[in-house]
Subunit: 335 residues, 2 copies
DNA sequence: TTGTAGGCGTTATCAT
DNA sequence: ATGATAACGCCTACAA
């Protein structure tokens, strides 16, 4: 494998010193128009690409960001992809590349990457309430952004979707439609406060809004939502009441349960969901839904991260929240 | 941001020369048990991590592999994720990291990454019949593996799923079930030979097997499959015949079309698909299907790639094919 | 505006 | 079995 041209080769061809080539690239000092032209021509002629390793060594900047991804997780793959794509694009704009690290490597992965100076910053996805990586990050003196909110956010930079508002919006939509009770198919009330606290935040949003509207709520755990099936079998709208349905986890299972009983969303009951745009639109009846917006989250992460990098700070405490919005579709047909 | 300990620090603490530390890491010369112990203790005590850039510069090995990914493409996100996860895991086993490059960067992305020696090899996904990146790779003297098969594979290392066998298996299954004609909802006959030639290979598999079984086939282009809807409306089983359905692209649209007419796969018609396992199982009636196996492809790619890297070859011409298998589910209920 | 030179942290070739 | 030491390719004071 050929070694490829170096800045020295460029310099020779352009008839300048090697440092001039370097300064042409960095723009850190003024160059005469003539010199600039000659150097750029030489670079083009040789198809010169600076050696990333040498650059990292001398400049102590890798122009690489690591992103710690929870592959085999509860996350939806489409969401993950969208997030990553958007992030890579944003990174490229700043002339950064993206290194992939699996969450399975755990805390050691973070240590390895940061210790080896393979990157200038890291993004850690799907953070849990008690996340060891948060503790590590605090001691690291290295810019890390967390997606998700650990219990103790001291000294941490976090970004997350507004799950609480999501829960609230869904409840209010069903309330506005005249529903008098709610059936929630999701992570379930007993998951509140466990691992990922977005579950808890969503539940809080639902509960708060339901109380405000005096709507009784019954929760059913997906995917083994026998209770949910029982509700459907018992009749959704007993004695003049009207049951609105909220789906979070186990969407496809829930939709199947409805279909098997001949229940059509929007006709026989109002159904809303917390899911991706794609999921909402793929259903037999497209769902009115609040969609977590991975691209918005991604942009916010990128923005914040590059601010940190440019500032040279290790981290800048604070939780950024990406707003939630509801999109109406056919599953809440009547007005 | 602290500079972190160097091998020099380790050497000092262990009371040895810096080169000894290096040799302890590489194992390229024998070390006395005593020295080994002292060096390892020092490394642990300082939490030493070798500087990746310096290592790449001196050793001309990055221990990084770039993977060029088609984010916003026809690929299913779940497939992509599975592929990538499996690949990252395999890479880690060989002590390699993975750099993400978007296909949107096109040919320049490949050039940039390889030129800058940011990686020791690259994987290019979703290769088209006439792929510029293939031409570049041939001139590159750099190990590249392609997923997908360009028209001219001279000097190229390619891996792909056996789409032809997939088509054949699906047809044979429907034939065995007593169907007398086929309706295919997919990329359509006119897509054959265009961009991604797996479409053509799949079509060839279908056509070949259909001819062997003397089954007439009508093709319908997804997603605007009006023709498909017409077939459903015209009645699937005219005068004693029986129409088997094959779905490829536009699966959800096709399933919806059936559902809207009250047609249940496995009861009213045999339905088979080329899709992911997840898709096959998510449907209201789980589908008998041939599933592209991203993890199998990934493993084959990794295996081949590390063989190349270890051998120091730029590439090793040849097309590896990942076998196709059919899994029976409820959508072909009757025997 | 431009050139010179030292150093970044490894690897690998000499020696010993 | 181990120590010096010269690259590796680039960045950046320091000079001019």
């Amino acid at each position: 494998m050929g070694r490829g041209p170096t800045s020295k080769d460029v310099a020779r061809l352009a008839g300048v010193s090697q440092s001039t080539v370097s300064y042409v690239m960095s723009g850190k000092r003024s160059i005469s128009a003539e010199t600039l032209r000659r150097v750029e021509e030489a670079m083009a002629a040789l198809n010169y690409q600076p050696h990333a390793g040498a650059r990292a060594l001398a400049g102590s900047r890798t122009n690489t960001i690591a992103i710690v991804m929870p592959f085999a997780s509860a996350y939806d793959a489409g969401q993950l992809m969208a997030f990553v794509e958007e992030f890579v694009l944003a990174a490229r704009v700043h002339d950064y590349d993206v290194l992939l690290v699996t969450a399975e490597e755990g805390i050691e992965g973070l240590r390895r990457i940061t210790g080896g100076r393979q990157c200038d910053a890291a993004v850690v996805m799907q953070v849990t309430a008690q996340d060891q990586r948060a503790d590590l990050a605090r001691t690291l003196d290295f810019p890390v952004i967390f997606i998700g909110v650990p219990e103790d956010t001291t000294g941490l930079a976090c970004v997350d979707f507004d799950f609480e508002a999501a829960g609230r919006l869904l409840v209010e939509e069903l309330a506005d439609l005249g529903n008098t009770r709610l059936s929630v198919l999701g992570w379930g009330a007993d998951s509140v406060g466990r691992d990922y606290n977005y579950i808890g935040r969503f539940a809080r949003g639902v509960t708060g809004a339901a109380e405000a509207h005096r709507l009784p709520v019954d929760w059913h755990l997906a995917p083994a939502a026998d209770g949910f099936a029982a509700v459907l079998d018992a009749g959704l709208h007993p004695d003049g009441g009207r049951t609105g349905i909220i789906m979070t986890a186990g969407l496809s299972g829930g939709m199947r349960a409805l279909a098997l009983r001949g229940l059509v969303p929007g006709r026989d009951a109002d159904v809303v969901a917390l899911c991706t745009e794609a999921e909402a639109e793929e259903q037999v009846v497209p769902l009115t839904a609040v969609s977590t917006q991975p691209r918005d989250v991604s942009r916010m992460v990128a923005e914040r991260l590059f601010a940190l990098i440019d500032a040279g700070c290790p981290a800048q405490e604070g939780v950024d929240i990406v707003p939630a919005t509801l999109v109406r579709r056919a599953s809440t047909g009547r007005a």
